[in-house]
């Protein structure tokens, strides 16, 4: 069985002229099939860096990262994944439908199959009404929805979402939650980073908490969070504990 995400001793050092930032300090994680995993941490913890390594945008200083058993640097590893970036920006001069057609053609989809898939996804993200409008006229929430639709165009086995509910109103967040629930029902693996801890608590089988480039906790929410405590409280305590350790308190 191929594990959707497998990361071993991953380190990323970002060097600038004056300093070296240890964005990731030897993290290891594994995301199994058909799991919904929340990847949480404060700003600058290294969540997006981890996602960028998984997608081959950033090279690891040491360690390894694999998607379905393939090294992340090989394009074949990306055949079975869908990705929604944080702050999704896309070709503003295209319409929503054209964007989905373009994304589908990059997966060698064409003809009626592609047309039907685009229509199905527009329906899924409630964007049929604006499908033939230019993306330049979309609101932030609409951009997020169409970005999510393009991430799902190839019916991926693994969906990586970076802050999928960022900038969405409560209804938009509900829609995203429903989409993640639908993906779970269809047996997909979802790996998403978020600051919305209530969302994570509601939809995730497992959470991974990353602080200052290190994983401080991982496992099912029910096992991690003490009875009577919320994930938010557990998260704040974990971050404080780590920060205190960093400053030597």
């Amino acid at each position: 069985m191929q594990v959707p995400i497998e990361v071993r001793d991953l380190e990323v050092c970002i060097r600038s002229r004056r300093s070296v930032v240890h964005a990731l300090q030897g993290i290891s994680l594994e995301v199994g099939e058909k799991q919904v995993v929340g990847f949480i941490g404060p700003n600058g913890a290294g969540k997006t860096t981890t996602v960028h390594v998984l997608l081959g945008f950033t090279e690891a200083t040491s360690g390894s990262a694999k998607l379905f058993g393939e090294d992340v640097r090989h394009s074949i590893a990306r055949r079975r994944i869908g990705y929604l970036p944080e702050l999704p920006q896309t070709y503003n001069f295209l319409t929503g439908r054209e964007l989905l057609h373009m994304a589908g053609r990059l997966f060698d989809m064409k003809g009626a199959v592609l047309k039907d898939r685009a229509a199905e996804l527009l329906e899924l993200v409630s964007m049929t009404y604006a499908a033939d409008r230019k993306i330049a006229t979309y609101s932030r929430g609409m951009m997020q929805r169409i970005g999510l639709a393009q991430a799902l165009v190839n019916d991926p086995d693994l969906v990586i979402l970076d802050e999928p509910t960022g900038g969405l109103d409560p209804l938009g967040r509900l829609d995203v939650r429903n989409i993640i629930a639908t993906l779970r029902e269809r047996g997909k693996t979802v790996f998403f980073s978020s600051h919305e801890l209530s969302e994570v608590e509601r939809v995730c089988d497992q959470v991974i908490i990353l602080v200052a480039g290190q994983i401080v906790a991982k496992g099912p929410v029910a096992e991690l969070v003490p009875a009577g405590e919320s994930l938010e409280q557990f998260f704040i305590d974990s971050v404080r504990k780590m920060q205190n350790r960093e400053v030597g308190v």
């Binding site: 081959g56 394009s75 869908g82 070709y91 001069f93 054209e98 373009m102 990059l106």
Partner: protein
């Protein structure tokens, strides 16, 4: 191939939905029709004068379009953040580069052909006669030169921002046009001096002057010395293709291991 054509198609749609090409077309049209109505030094009546200035404007407009189109492809993808969902798809970096080059070159080439058609309409309206064999050769060489410009700009823009890439691109293209044909004169004028640097420049920079048939078209040299043989045209086209391939290879070397981070490349 499907992925390369998809990327090229995005470049085309971008061009058609932007105003750059229409502005250049209108500007060229206004200048050409302006040439018909003015009569500087009594040259207004000479059709050849219209063709001479028109061809110069066509070259300038096409180079501006090629430099700006090809130079902005990669940096804009990075600054807009559209590179992330794109590279998260199973597309190889060389496919992205070839798709970008194909899209930029084919769209600039199509615009250039439209520029030529417009020029021809104005020239014919002035009563000019043209040798169509030479015209076809001139257009073919012009389009090949634009292929080189697009590939050069892609190579430069793998590591620079759009503004920097366009500036360096303009300097290199215009510099090559003006300087390279004169290098043998410089060497001949002072053979005792250390000319190694000049010789390196001569062989390193692209020879755009080989692709410029404006004088032949304007002065109809084909009537005097016979048309340029298609064999020579083929050799120049092969040279253009080799240079384009070299620039694309350089672009790939600069881009294949490039890493990205939020807010720009690392």
């Amino acid at each position: 191939m499907n992925r390369i054509l998809t990327i090229a198609n995005i470049v085309w749609v971008d061009l058609l939905r932007r105003k750059d090409v229409y502005v250049l077309l209108i500007l060229l049209g206004v200048m050409l029709f302006g040439l018909l109505s003015i009569n500087i030094f009594g040259l207004g009546g000479a059709a050849r004068y219209v063709l001479d200035v028109g061809l110069l404007l066509t070259w300038i407009c096409s180079i501006i379009l090629a430099v700006t189109m090809a130079g902005r492809q990669l940096p804009t993808e990075e600054s807009r953040g559209t590179i992330y969902p794109l590279l998260a798809k199973p597309i190889r970096r060389w496919e992205l580069l070839v798709g970008k080059w194909l899209g930029a070159w084919s769209s600039v080439a199509a615009s250039t052909v439209v520029f030529y058609v417009l020029l021809l309409v104005v020239y014919r309206a002035r009563g000019g006669v043209i040798d169509y064999n030479t015209l076809v050769q001139a257009i073919l060489l012009h389009l090949a030169a634009l292929g080189m410009v697009c590939a050069l700009l892609l190579a430069i823009s793998t590591r620079l921002t759009y503004g920097a890439a366009a500036t360096v691109g303009f300097v290199l293209v215009v510099g090559s046009f003006l300087l390279v044909p004169r290098i043998p004169w410089f060497i001949a004028a002072d053979p005792g001096a250390n000319t190694i640097g000049l010789r390196i420049l001569y062989y390193l920079l692209p020879h755009f002057e080989l692709f410029d048939m404006r004088q032949r078209l304007v002065h109809q040299w084909s009537d005097i010395s016979g048309a340029v043989s298609w064999g020579i045209i083929a050799i120049i086209l092969v040279y253009g293709m080799v240079m384009t391939a070299i620039f694309l290879l350089l672009a790939w070397l600069g881009y294949r291991t490039k890493h990205f981070k939020r807010g720009g490349a690392v």
